[in-house]
Symmetry: C2
């Protein structure tokens, strides 16, 4: 069995901790099981997959913008299937199928389970995922799903409705689906033994490859990538699941939660304060999540979420917190914190100075043995002050060692890269008439290749 984890959309439902670069699944806010560090939903799920022996059978399907972040958080252990552009789940899953078929050589008889990258569940959930393989075999089903036992008549989920003449044992034959019912309808659905659709489905690879063949889609990954922008922008649920005839559902009655809003997320926090903060005794059911070094003090404010990041400060009544998505929808902002393949950066200061120039000050942290790309700027000058660690710098083809206290002044037109030997921290000042992403021309990412550009490479 292979797993395809869909790592989806950016969004502002958890602003200011989620933004256009950092989706909710990457926020490090959950306490490690049997540990003391904080971890993200993605990291939590990956550890669970490890425990049930599924991690090395798992692939993450996602857009280009998330790959660095995923590799960073999963320490380069995940195989990533990169979508050339973000469309919807139908094209994404076709692409994953073609990748497994044409690149990985997976057998057509292998079961493929597709699931979101961030379900908040017990390990038992993933054992249930494993069972989908047997279910597909036992019932010769087109699709096998997991249904979550509803705990209340939710209006925001989709429901999986069983056939009335259900004669199966531990599994349920699916009649049809019902999206976002009214509360009254939801109550009726629950009486009919309907389950919540948690977005997990499995099929034999053969099922989807046949589907693609019938539609004359290319089966080879490289070819499908080229035609990706022509694939219909539609969800897999609509295009495949709802049209399938023979669907079996495995009921799951364990813990499952959608941590999509501050309201639901704070319920899973182990402590009321993450980061620097003080809550007065009369601030009841209030949570602080503080990613800044600046202390937060809350006095006499109950039922609130205080979320603080370099991007913003949210003070919200918990019941109102889902509205943050709409309020911040049109709010465009340069991300002030980003995790990257090589480490992370934080914007410390931004200003347009009296001379009309843009100035950005960043703290950059590069992990040992990681490197920035070899790059050059047309407009900006960059001044780096090393504040921690040791590294190797290539400046205009000259390789040199750098360490704490060193200063590097990089003029426009000068090619440069740096690789961390130990954890390397730099305060960087960028100065230009206009600072924008287009002013970065990347020559190479690969350090061995970059070394070839240096005239004094040793050995």
């Amino acid at each position: 069995m292979k797993l395809v984890l869909l790592s989806g959309g950016s969004g502002k439902r958890l602003w200011p901790l989620s933004n256009d670069c950092r989706s909710k699944q990457f926020i490090r806010i959950l306490k490690e099981v049997n540990g003391s560090e904080l971890e993200s939903m993605v990291q939590r799920v990956w550890k669970q997959l490890d425990r049930v022996d599924l991690a090395h059978h798992s692939y993450v399907a996602t857009g280009k913008s998330q790959t660095e972040l995923i590799q960073n958080q999963l320490e380069n252990r995940a195989s990533i299937i990169v979508e050339p552009e973000r469309r919807d789940t139908y094209p994404a899953i076709l692409l994953a199928a073609s990748y497994l078929y044409s690149i990985e050589g997976v057998s057509l008889q292998e079961s493929i389970a597709v699931l979101p990258v961030d379900p908040y569940v017990d390990d038992a959930f993933f054992l249930k995922v494993k069972e989908l393989d047997g279910t597909l075999n036992d019932y010769q089903a087109d699709l096998a799903l997991i249904g979550v036992k509803p705990t209340y008549p939710s209006e925001k989920y989709g429901y999986i409705v069983p056939t009335s003449d259900n004669i199966l044992d531990d599994s349920i034959k699916v009649s049809h689906f019902h999206e976002k019912p009214t509360e009254e309808q939801a109550n009726q659905l629950i009486q009919q033994n309907a389950y919540w659709n948690c977005g997990v489905f499995a099929f034999k690879l053969d099922y989807l490859i046949t589907h693609m063949r019938e539609r004359n889609f290319p089966l080879h990954y490289d070819e499908l990538v080229k035609q990706y922008n022509n694939l219909p922008k539609i969800s897999f649920d609509y295009e495949v699941v709802e049209k399938s005839k023979n669907i079996i559902m495995l009921p799951y009655e364990g813990y499952w939660k959608d941590l999509g809003t501050w309201n639901t997320l704070t319920e899973e926090m182990d402590e009321t304060i993450i980061g620097k903060g003080v809550l007065s005794d009369d601030s009841l059911n209030t949570h602080i999540v503080n990613e800044l070094d600046i202390p937060v003090t809350v006095l006499g404010v109950s039922n609130a979420i205080i979320a603080v990041s370099p991007d913003g400060i949210l003070i919200s009544d918990k019941a109102s917190s889902p509205k943050v998505k709409d309020l911040m929808k049109n709010y465009e902002q340069r991300p002030m914190f980003e995790e990257r393949r090589w480490g992370w950066y934080k914007v410390l200061d931004y200003a347009r100075n009296d001379e009309g120039k843009e100035v950005i000050t960043r703290r950059i942290c590069i992990s040992p043995n990681s490197n920035l790309s070899y790059q050059v700027h047309k407009e900006r000058i960059e001044i780096w002050t090393v504040i921690c660690g040791k590294g190797e710098l290539i400046l205009d083809g000259i390789l040199q060692e750098i360490q704490t206290g060193d200063v590097i002044r990089i003029l426009a037109g000068v090619k440069h890269s740096v690789r961390a030997i130990t954890n390397l921290e730099i305060i960087e000042n960028q100065i230009a008439d206009n600072l924008n992403q287009e002013d970065i021309q990347r020559i190479s990412m690969n350090w061995e290749e970059i070394l070839d550009y240096s005239s004094n490479r040793v050995g």
Copy 2:
């Protein structure tokens, strides 16, 4: 008539905008009258004194720690009487009297009015202050006070109680004082025509000089400074006012307010948001004061004050806000923002790095024609990146011009200073095993004198 403005204590009643360096009177939070800029209480009062023609007769009595800030905010227009240490109002006012007498040569027949540096009042209040001069003359009074007509039976103010056989016209003969009564007592006091004591009193210089002479205190300022630490640590109210026999009070019925807590201060704010912020429509009677560049969003939280500065983030129910003083009382913190004689600085980042060294990154802004002191460090290295403007640098005796994009690396033991030609902004990185104030050895503050240390001074 001369005015002595007492600029008192630091404190945390308006944390995080007030701290050990920045007392509440210096917070720039009030909208200018007929202007669009924000100003502090001190700046507001100084403009009012200007309008009623009293500014050039005014002196500010304060401690050393506030002088730079006052000079910065009042653009070096105030005469400052510096207390060698903070004691209480009695020694402070004696010192001011000796200064006016022995240094300024003020006549013994001149009236001296003493008042807090930050009353929040109409201009009419200062016209009333002017009238105290005539009152002292007309009634041959020892002291003349201003009383504020009470608007409610406050338990936190002191009351000035008139004599029962009050036969004066616009002025009232004082019987005695009543500090912080119960609400019931306050109601009785108001029925007796008592007024709030707003801390304004006037006397002939002769009255206080005689008082000092009788107690064998030195009359010369220089001598009194030396003995300042022996003066009794007591308030002028207890030691002088309450012991005086012939006191006249002028009633003031105009606007007067004690802006000492977030609760009272926000009532005087012109807009609900200062700085970057968004308030949802259902956040009623909530104020945002944001000194950071990071945006604040408030969703469904009413009757709250959100105060954000580099020192901290306060989220408080307005009624609870006076408690912030107690909550933050024992909270010790390096100030993250300071206004100085030469401009201001802001701490952007602080860390102890993996190598055990302390690193501080600051943005420093030096006003045109101002300079840092000529100084040297034993331990730290400093790396400066000029991000705006032009200046003159002296580094180990060598004078040179610097401008945007330049980098200066200052090793331990190297004497250095800088003077701004235009508005000069610098990103400074300090690195040392331990960063502390004792590592700064100041050689000179005066630029002309500093220039004498440079070997290549021109002209």
